[in-house]
């Protein structure tokens, strides 16, 4: 198979390397090798030699019209953004890197990272529980997802923050006895930060459990059987065989969730927690520059999402090894290849 491919490649190359008008037989041989025709057939047919003809690319006039219309629209939007003084770009620039905004941004990133990681870890455990053979574990996992997916996040936040109202003290001990290892006032334990992390984590876990479960289910049963037949232990089976394949199904949804979480953290403004969104609110309430400051927050969210998208691209690419025959080039590799071939083309043109 591979030897046939090399033969074709070689004959094509030799046909190309014959400079100028090639001998009439050369293209014929190349074609017959590729098409599998017996060579006598190619020789018998007196084929016209097209090698000196110029190739004219097909014209697509409507494509150009469409491009022009869209370009005009994009230009108009950009123009209005740049020239309408009410956007107050000066104010945006002034606040974009201001210390309070940066502090808020760091809080947002902190919340996202902590509740994202904890949420997915808990989600992974919930997914395994849901797939286990124990009916109790299955139903506990199901109920968890059911409750947290059907309660508004806002309500969850306020509930956690006001937990002190429901339970004055929180203690760790042996249930149904008087043994207590420690006891603490709920209000001291549940700070704004703790309530925010708790709410976001539990909510995130409920959603990510379903995403991870879906990924695991998408892996072919035969993979597990083959691994079991080879005597590979259960834990290794999950981490080495199933999860890497499940990741392909998990990642796009997981990044959706993480990106949603970045902006979802803005909901903790109800706890007066000074993350990015709450910070800009505080500022514009004082300065009355509402739109420019919302723009500051938006631009930061755009930056975070863009960075995450780049991560997503490369992580997905990592896990797609073996899933496609040949990995497509990354944008960077494409650019490099474009310049390389472009340079070759110009060189060839010059040499002709």
């Amino acid at each position: 198979m591979s030897s046939a491919a090399t033969t074709v490649a070689q004959s094509t190359k030799s046909a190309q390397s014959a400079a100028g008008p090639a001998p009439a037989a050369a293209p014929g041989t190349a074609a017959s090798a590729a098409g599998g025709l017996p060579p006598e057939d190619g020789a018998a047919r007196v084929a016209t030699d097209y090698s000196a003809y110029r190739v004219v690319a097909a014209k697509h006039p409507w494509r150009w019209v469409g491009t022009a219309v869209v370009a005009l629209g994009v230009l108009a939007v950009a123009w209005s953004l740049a020239t309408n003084p009410r956007w107050e770009w000066g104010v945006v620039a002034q606040w974009f890197t201001a210390q309070p905004v940066i502090n808020g941004l760091l809080e947002t990133l902190k919340l996202t990272a902590i509740s994202g990681v904890l949420g997915f870890v808990l989600g992974f455990i919930l997914a395994l529980m849901r797939l286990s053979a124990s009916p109790l574990l299955v139903s506990v996992s199901w109920t968890f997802s059911w409750i947290f997916r059907s309660t508004p996040l806002l309500v969850q936040m306020l509930l956690w923050y006001n937990l002190g109202y429901l339970y004055e003290k929180i203690s760790l001990g042996i249930p149904f006895t008087d043994v207590r290892f420690f006891e603490v006032q709920t209000t001291t334990l549940i700070s704004q930060f703790a309530a925010a992390v708790l709410g976001l984590t539990l909510n995130q876990a409920a959603y990510s459990a379903e995403i991870i479960r879906g990924g695991i289910l998408s892996v072919d049963q035969g993979q597990l059987e083959a691994a079991a037949a080879l005597g590979i232990p259960a834990w290794r089976r999950s981490t080495r065989i199933v999860l890497p394949q499940a990741m392909r199904a998990i990642l796009p949804n997981a990044f959706n969730e993480i990106i949603g979480l970045v902006k979802g953290t803005s909901i903790v403004y109800v706890l007066a927690y000074s993350e990015l969104f709450y910070t800009v609110q505080v500022i514009y309430n004082r300065t009355q520059q509402v739109l420019p400051l919302l723009l500051v927050a938006t631009l930061w969210y755009v930056v975070i999402t863009s960075v995450l998208s780049v991560f997503q691209y490369y992580i997905e690419r990592h896990y797609s090894k073996g899933a496609v025959r040949n990995l497509p080039l990354t944008p960077l590799q494409k650019a490099r290849k474009f310049f390389a071939t472009h340079a070759v083309a110009t060189n060839r043109a010059r040499s002709l």
């Binding site: 059987e225 037949a229 080879l230 005597g231 590979i232 232990p233 080495r240 394949q245 896990y319």
Partner: protein, 281 residues
């Protein structure tokens, strides 16, 4: 049971197997039953395969061939009867009068002595050919990565694929994938190899490259149990041909016996349907 009866009819040498320590790869299946829901797919099957023997199981679809094969390495738990390898029960431990179900860890250890090759290859698509072969020796037998790699390359060489060691399964043809799967099964130095229709998912022109590898294995002293629809190959490679139908062994014997002089009408009618005219009786 007819199955048990026919098995008992087998030559006396088969049942009187030597039980010394040198015995490697003796498979004894005794009155095995298995149901899926209300369908009984194995109805008391008994079969003995000698160490180094090559048993080929043939029969119509749904006759329980594959299920029988999968019970041997405990991928399917039997509902009744028992299977032993070199005198040791598969999946259970004898403790006095009781049979204790083995735990996952011990079952996995038993399985390392039994290689299996699947109809759909079941190669791990995200691992290269060499990684597929070298994975199990490291985690299941505790060999060093270097050893596993070296041995993996040897095995890939043996199936004629040393130059494709770095390729992912999807970059290989079906026949090449199945040869990698055979190398993977061999990596644990099994005393028994199970083949579940190893050529059924292959294009006709790729069948022979896989059969040639199995043919080579048949002379290596490993016990082979092969489920296949390739009658010419069965005749060529088998010591014992086993004909199964409706969850029972209908008839078993040497290839000459089964293919040229079958006793049971069901065997005859099956063979007349599947044999090419050249083999017709």
């Amino acid at each position: 049971m007819t199955a048990a009866a026919t098995a008992a009819n087998a030559p006396a040498t088969k049942t009187a197997a030597p039980k010394d320590a040198a015995t490697r790869g003796l498979v004894e299946i005794t009155k095995v039953r298995k149901s899926f829901g209300t369908t009984e797919v194995l109805k008391g099957v008994s079969l003995t395969v000698e160490p180094g023997g090559v048993a080929v199981i043939v029969g119509p679809s749904g006759s329980g061939k594959s299920t029988l094969l999968r019970t041997i390495n405990h991928l399917e738990k039997v509902d009744g009867g028992f299977i032993s390898i070199d005198g040791k029960l598969v999946g259970y431990e004898v403790r006095g009068e009781r049979l204790l179900e083995l735990r996952e860890k011990e079952i996995l250890k038993q399985r390392t002595g039994i290689g299996m090759v699947f109809q759909n290859f079941n190669l791990f698509p995200h691992l290269t050919a060499l990684e597929n072969v070298a994975e199990a020796p490291v985690v299941a037998l505790g060999r060093s990565k270097e050893d596993a790699r070296r041995r993996g390359l040897e095995l890939l060489d043996r199936v004629g694929l040393k130059d494709r060691a770095g390729a992912y399964p999807r970059q290989l043809s079906g026949g090449q994938q199945q040869r990698v799967a055979i190398a993977r099964a061999l990596a644990l130095d099994p005393k028994i190899l199970l083949f579940d229709e190893p050529t059924s998912a292959l294009d006709p022109e790729l069948v022979n490259e896989v059969l040639d590898v199995i043919r080579e294995l048949a002379t290596s002293g490993t016990t082979l149990i092969i489920v296949t629809h390739e009658m010419g190959f069965a005749r060529d490679v088998a010591d014992t041909v086993v004909f199964m139908d409706e969850g029972q062994i209908v008839e078993q014997g040497s290839p000459e016996h089964i293919f040229t002089n079958p006793q049971e009408p069901r065997t005859r009618s099956f063979l007349s349907k599947v044999l090419e005219p050249a083999f017709n009786i």
